[in-house]
Symmetry: C2
Subunit: 83 residues, 2 copies
Amino acid sequence: MDLTWAGYVAATLTTLAFVPQAVKTLRTRDTRSISLYMYVVFTAGVAFWLVYGIYLHSWPMIIANIVTLGLAAMILYMKLRWR
Amino acid sequence: MDLTWAGYVAATLTTLAFVPQAVKTLRTRDTRSISLYMYVVFTAGVAFWLVYGIYLHSWPMIIANIVTLGLAAMILYMKLRWR
């Protein structure tokens, strides 16, 4: 059984998951219950995933991680700005 | 140049990132600025990563995703309980 589709579903879901958080934070400017350390560590981690994806020449990894990096960095910026 | 280490660093960081969020939420019981939809979609996505890791027989993926799934599900449960 080929489960490659599960990898694509996984990459799509864990990338798009950050859209509602970014939209909610942008609208409310409320970041109080969001952990700063989570977004510092997570953003750094996604940058490493991107490096690793480039190394593997994996376009799904590269594209998913560029989008996730943008969203996570945006939430981190809002947390730093509106705390 | 072998960049496999970047994959391990990435997996470790994006997994451990959820620890400070889980601890902060557990302590404060404040979930107001956390997006419910983010954790619903993210938890589902990590479950698919776990399925894909099992399919690839990749132990780093399996272990990292079991830990991330536990942490994300815990934050989702707290969001549903204390909103």
